[in-house]
């Protein structure tokens, strides 16, 4: 069993609040998911004084709960072999809650961040927003029916497994992205009976049931879901629904910051990942929330070459 390099960074290494204010950073990266790791991997020390912060306890973003998994070789290698470049400061369990872009009075961008010790600010000449997003829950798509326990997204199911618990016994995994199917395989490995299903309009990967989710049934625990398969309503008895239809860009903390969003709610960027505000970039899921996109690693690499002071 290979050990992940990332376990080398523990919370004990987290600097206290006072140490954070050693002056401005050249680059602040919000999020330490795949796109950020790729940027750090390619950019290395050339980025200058860099700080990376992440809400989670470890690096790797949402995908880390799944990795390693078949079909995710590139992602796993990046995560497994990742080494924090020297001089880059990693702040875990540190969440950006606001962004104040540079202005005439204040030439650097300010990130408002919250961590165990309280709320503080970080200043940086350039900010890379690589904060990914969250999975679309059943509620986002207003799937009708009851609201029982046993309905979840892959990241919840995978986290519960990682904590050593089975979230159910018989699950329907709804969605046919690589991620959905890898989650289905993982659940089957630990002993759940798994049925895969997806709408006909999906990615066209092979699933057991082709149909659209119509209704969630049962209370207090899920007992069944109803799918519309070929104009026929089919009831499937399951105690768990893994709803894996997509991602939502994580932009709520940017409200009022002036960073422009697209109509779809993602951060608007040009071909060089520049947002509407000079010196603020965005990469990864937060600009491309399609579940199956394979661009995060590439976007990280590209932006490394584009940042002033970055590698070329």
């Amino acid at each position: 069993m290979r050990k992940m390099q990332m376990s080398a960074y523990t919370l004990e290494d987290m600097p206290l609040m006072e140490d954070l204010h050693e002056g401005d950073y050249d680059v602040a990266i919000v999020g330490a998911g795949l796109s950020a790791l790729s940027l750090l991997h390619s950019g290395g020390t050339a980025l200058g004084r860099t700080v990376v912060l992440d809400y989670q306890e470890q690096v790797g973003g949402l995908l880390r709960y799944l990795l390693p998994a078949d079909g995710f070789g590139t992602e796993w290698e990046l995560l497994r072999d990742f080494q924090l470049p020297s001089g880059v400061r990693l702040l875990l369990q540190t969440t950006a809650v606001g962004l104040l872009p540079a202005n005439d009075a204040e030439p650097t961008h300010t990130l408002v961040v919250r961590r165990r010790q309280g709320t503080t600010q970080l200043r940086a000449r350039q900010v890379v927003i690589a904060c990914g997003g969250v999975e679309r829950p059943r509620e986002h798509d207003a799937i009708p029916g009851t609201r029982p326990s046993g309905v979840m997204t892959p990241v919840l199911a995978l986290q519960l497994l990682a904590q050593g618990y089975l979230p159910g016994r018989r699950a329907l995994v709804y969605g046919d992205s690589r991620y959905a199917l890898a989650t289905a395989r993982r659940l089957a490995e630990v002993g759940l009976e798994v049925i895969t299903a997806a709408p006909a309009s999906g990615n066209g990967r092979s699933v057991r049931l082709c149909g659209t989710l119509q209704e969630i049934c049962g209370f207090p625990r899920l007992t069944a879901v109803r799918l519309l398969c070929d104009q026929q309503s089919v009831e499937v008895e399951v105690d768990t629904l893994i709803y894996a239809t997509g991602l939502l860009a994580g932009t709520h903390w940017l409200k009022g910051s002036g960073v422009a969003l697209t109509a779809a709610g993602t951060i608007a960027v040009d071909a060089h990942y520049r947002t509407n505000i000079p010196g603020i970039y965005a990469i990864g899921t937060v600009v491309r929330p399609e579940l199956d996109h394979e661009d995060s690693v590439r976007m990280g690499k590209e932006v490394a070459t584009l940042l002033p002071g970055g590698v070329s």
Partner: protein, 486 residues
């Protein structure tokens, strides 16, 4: 009566931990008497009180002369003090009733304004231009309307909990997870049994079981009224489009209609529908209901017809044949007091219902007021404490300090939904899918709860079914997992 042993002997027992039962408990705590409340769910506020529009209605449209109208008027006087003493989040937004055509405008002038006047409320007529200036998001096609200044929005979970905590502070006892399954009526005392096999004895029982109040009455042999469920579906959006007032349609014969209501803790509530259903547990949302909401709100605030939604839910109104509140002794005993049929204004009227019932019970039993009564709840945690700790709920930026404060409170949550209603965690876009494992860990750390026993809401709603043993388990956050196929 048989020889069953009594588990608890009190002067007054309240059945039902909704906003009405808890408001009554709080008022009863003023008296020199022993009091207790029984609730079937593991938390208070799990019935209709958790699924409503959360408006503190003035009662401007109540039927004059009814008990409902009278108690709503009394509640108007009581709210400011209740809000201040119990520190309840409240926002006096005002409500705009908008007319979409001349006919509706005429209805306002002919029916709404005089009815409000009879209820002691003056409505302020507004022109189309005035409305669009105050609320530019409202449909441009409106022809006019009225402002109901005194309407506001409140946190219904907080209200219910605060009533209960205040009663506990003054000596009341609370029994959660106790479903009443039998009532024996004696000449001096009533015996109330629960499904768990506990027996309570009381000189007076208050039946505040909401939609099930008719069934509680029936347990005592009283068949004098029936309650039927009328479903109201909602959807929640975080896209507020500037909405800062409650926007009301001109009501029809059957309902107040579908509204646009700002939520006191963020976001906008759209709904409710009104549909008579046959099952008192039917809280499912439907495609048709959600469509009706979007059509309804689209007429008031066009942008709301296409907003994204973070959640949908439904509540059930307790409809009685009388059309008014049923607050009276049972037909079988003076010692069983019904507080039922509190259909669509129970939250708004709750301080007055509590006060009215408290007085009624005090007189019936000849009770004296206590000498020591604490009028206010201690301040909720200061802002500084809220700041404490890292963010746990990413979507709503809820910190570990806020979660811990809830878990350490007088009335700590027993379920995941209970924690949600106390902190706002899991209410956002991801609906808890990201942070739930962290919340489970905090439950375990603070309250010693085994994650396997933790439920979402109702009994039987466990999240986890088993420990992963055959693979040896995977240590949390280690980043390791057993090799494939082993």
């Amino acid at each position: 009566m048989e020889m069953t042993s009594i588990d608890l002997d009190v002067d007054i027992l309240v059945i039902g931990g909704g906003v009405v039962g808890c408001a009554i408990l709080r008022e009863l705590a003023r008296y020199d008497a022993s009091i207790a409340l029984l609730e079937q769910y593991p938390d208070v506020c799990e019935g209709t009180s958790k699924a409503n529009s959360a408006i503190v209605h003035t009662g401007f449209d109540a039927r004059p002369g009814t008990l409902e109208a009278r108690l709503l008027a009394e509640a108007r006087q009581l709210w400011p003090e209740v809000i201040a003493r119990l520190h309840i989040p409240y926002l006096q937004t005002g409500a705009l009733m908008v007319a979409l055509n001349e006919q509706e405008q005429a209805t306002i002038a002919r029916e709404i304004v005089p009815k409000a006047a009879a209820n002691g409320i003056t409505l302020q007529p507004l022109s189309r231009a005035e409305i669009l200036e105050a609320a530019p998001y409202v449909n441009e096609r409106i022809v006019g309307g009225v402002l109901v200044e005194g309407e506001g929005v409140i946190d219904p979970f907080w209200t219910t909990r605060a009533y209960c905590e205040h009663a506990l502070l003054n000596g009341a006892q609370l029994f959660l997870g106790e479903r009443v399954s039998a009532i024996e009526v004696g000449p001096q005392r009533l015996r109330v049994r629960t499904e768990n096999g506990k027996t309570f004895s009381a000189a007076l029982v208050v039946n505040a079981a909401g939609l099930w109040a008719d069934e509680i009455a029936r347990l005592a042999g009283d068949h004098s009224f029936r309650l039927t469920p009328r479903k109201g579906e909602f959807l929640i959006t975080e896209e507020d489009h500037g909405v800062a007032q409650i926007i009301l349609p001109v009501p029809s014969e059957v309902s107040k209609g579908i509204l646009v209501t700002p939520i006191v803790f963020g976001g906008v509530l759209l709904g409710p529908t009104a549909e008579d259903v046959s099952d008192k547990r039917d809280l499912a949302t439907t495609t048709a209901g959600q469509q009706r909401i979007r059509e309804g709100v689209g007429r008031l605030v066009p942008a709301m017809s296409t907003v994204s939604t973070v959640r949908q839910f439904a509540g059930l109104r307790a409809v009685s044949s009388t059309g008014d509140y049923i607050i009276r002794p049972s037909t079988v005993s003076e010692r069983l007091l019904h507080v039922a049929g509190i259909r669509s204004t129970g939250l708004s009227a709750s301080p007055a219902i509590g006060h009215y019932v408290g007085k009624l019970v005090g007189e019936t039993l000849g009770l004296r007021l206590r000498t020591s009564y604490r009028e206010t709840l201690p301040e909720p945690l200061s802002e500084a404490a809220h700041e404490d700790g890292e963010v746990v709920c990413l979507c709503r930026s809820i910190t570990r300090g806020e979660i811990l404060a809830a878990l350490r409170s007088t009335l700590p949550p027993q379920t995941l939904d209970g924690l949600k209603r106390r902190t706002g965690a899991m209410l956002g876009e991801c609906q808890g899918n990201l942070c739930l494992p962290r919340l489970i860990a905090l439950f375990q750390q603070e309250l010693g709860r085994d994650p396997l026993s933790l439920e979402k809401h109702a009994p039987g709603s466990r999240l986890l079914v088993e420990r992963l043993t055959h693979l040896g388990g995977v240590p949390a956050h280690s980043g390791e997992r057993p090799k494939r196929g082993q």
